[in-house]
């Protein structure tokens, strides 16, 4: 289920007062008979508006009778804000001349080196400061679990962060490192260093930039392994031309229903399930994390009975082949993305292709 809007607007000063009300009302009415149902979301679903109303009443009591003691003053906001300052950057004066020169140089380097041009297009994002770019180092490469890095690689990445991004990096939920403060005129040097470190694959947002949980190889909760499936798909789609031709695709893999890999929000989701002590995988299609391309956030729909580990890479390939056959150019001349084709034609052709990829001796019912 998606979250429910409790309140369209709350003044920032009141966030702690309001959360106190949310938790106190939940403590009173939340389920106690079944620990799997002892969740705020279960109460929201069961009580709906009644829960919202009671929170509002309690919130007013906290303000009016308890004196709203956790109302956040301006001074506290300022104290916390001081922890989120822009790092000191060594930036030349931003003039039209400097920008034109930096962009021209970049254009020349990109024309000389198609691999650099591809990386610029895929891994580099615009910045509110025209002199800067945000750059993703891709930790999605063959031989490694998605997002995995050795201690030495992280040390080396830290050197790049010091050198090119004001000493600041963000670990993204897509299991990559984002460098938010890279100078336009240092992109080429960063690309070369990132390439030497093996984290310059131009695959951000593409199929092989999948999200995968550690799965049964590392996690005691998992019903199935995630990493072998991730590896099999990574290895199968190493041709960069093919990868770029397939375009933006969110592939998300979770080894169990705890959903650390966010399988439900992937355009293609893979969920490990346990049946008779064996690993099986449910495939979902059409999920969205709410980004512009994917549309309103929502879970994908299950394609059918679950697949064996051996079948999954074939199933993914069959789904992608179906997309290639069915995609149509858009009004603006651009190629339709996977999720757009899926939305337009519906799940049926993809489902048929996925089911046709089953291996006869693996047939099962569920």
């Amino acid at each position: 289920m998606n979250g429910v809007v409790f309140r369209d607007f709350l003044p920032w000063q009141d966030i702690m007062n309001y959360l106190e009300a949310v938790v106190r009302v939940y403590n009173r009415w939340g389920r106690r008979d079944n620990k799997y149902k002892a969740r705020i979301k279960i109460l929201v679903k069961a009580e709906g508006q009644r829960y919202v109303d009671e929170v509002e009443t309690e919130y007013r009591e906290i303000l009016e009778r308890d004196g709203g003691l956790h109302t956040i003053p301006q001074s506290e906001l300022a104290r916390v804000q001081a922890g989120f300052v822009q790092p000191a950057l060594d930036l030349p004066e931003s003039t039209d001349e400097w920008l034109a020169q930096a962009e021209a140089t970049l254009g020349i380097e990109a024309a000389k080196t198609p691999a650099f041009a591809r990386w610029l297009a895929q891994n580099v994002k615009p910045h509110r400061n025209l002199q800067l770019r945000a750059v993703s180092l891709s930790f999605k490469r063959p031989g490694y679990a998605p997002g995995d890095a050795t201690a030495d690689q992280l040390d080396a990445a830290a050197v790049l962060v010091e050198k090119y991004s004001g000493g600041e990096a963000r670990v993204s939920h897509t299991q990559n490192l984002l460098l938010p403060w890279v100078r336009l005129d240092q992109l080429h040097a960063l690309w070369q260093d990132a390439k030497a470190l093996g984290v310059a694959q131009p695959n951000i947002g593409l199929l092989t930039d999948m999200i995968a949980c550690p799965g049964g190889d590392y996690c005691a909760l998992a019903n199935a392994r995630s990493i072998p499936t991730a590896s099999a798909i990574t290895e199968r789609y190493q041709d960069l031309d093919e990868l770029h031709d397939l375009g933006p695709i969110d592939l998300h893999i979770s080894g169990c229903i705890n959903s650390c890999g966010h399988h439900h929000s992937g355009h293609i989701g893979i969920l490990g399930v346990d049946k008779d002590g064996k690993e099986w995988y449910q495939v979902t299609l059409g999920g969205s994390d709410g980004k512009h391309l994917s549309g309103a956030a929502g879970p994908g729909k299950v394609v059918g009975p679950s697949f064996s580990a051996a079948e999954v890479p074939d199933v993914i390939e069959a789904i992608l082949e179906t997309y290639k056959q069915l995609r149509a150019p858009k009004a603006n001349g651009q190629q339709e993305a996977f999720i757009e084709t899926l939305r337009r034609v519906g799940q049926e052709p993809f489902k048929a292709a996925a089911n046709a990829a089953r291996q006869p001796h693996e047939t099962q019912t569920a």
């Binding site: 106190r24 308890d66 004196g67 956790h70 001074s75 506290e76």
Partner: protein, 156 residues
């Protein structure tokens, strides 16, 4: 803090929270009396209200009540924390709030902060670790039922 006249010797956590040796600020003295089940059962029941944890304390007439025993049927059922907070903070109950039931050492700090002043430890629970629980944190960001000002209000 009201006086408790029965039970075993109270444990008091009033160590300074400041590790650099500055004297403790008054409002950070944590105070909780720990009773054994025997001491609890031997106590006089006059003026005592035993309250089930699904009762809204705002519906009660508290005149003549000097002590309210709140209940933790299991340590995972924390409804009595909210009851204690409402009694102490919103209703201004000045008598004793006593925690009974599945009361473990780990809960003492939360109990103290929601307004309890006495905890009856579950049978078999060793009280010797209680002090450490009450001393565990050097300070708190949020206000509590007894020390109502959050840290940012004190600093201001």
């Amino acid at each position: 803090m009201n006086t408790v006249t029965c039970g075993s010797a109270p444990l008091r956590a009033n160590k300074p929270f400041d590790r650099r040796g500055r004297p403790p600020a008054k409002h950070f003295q944590l105070h909780m009396n720990i009773f054994t089940t025997q001491a609890h059962q031997a106590a006089d029941k006059t003026g005592v209200l035993e309250l089930a944890n699904d009762v809204d304390p705002r519906t009660l007439d508290l005149s003549g009540i000097t002590r309210i025993d709140l209940q933790f049927p299991t340590f995972t059922d924390g409804r009595a924390y909210s009851q204690a907070y409402l009694l102490r903070r919103r209703l201004g109950f000045a008598g004793e709030l006593r925690a009974t039931g599945d009361v473990l050492i780990d809960q003492l700090l939360q109990m103290q902060r929601t307004g309890f002043d006495v905890a009856v430890l579950k049978e078999g629970v060793d009280a010797s670790a209680a002090q450490r629980q009450l001393d565990r944190y050097a300070g708190f960001y949020q206000g509590s039922a007894v020390d109502t000002q959050p840290l940012f209000a004190k600093a201001a």
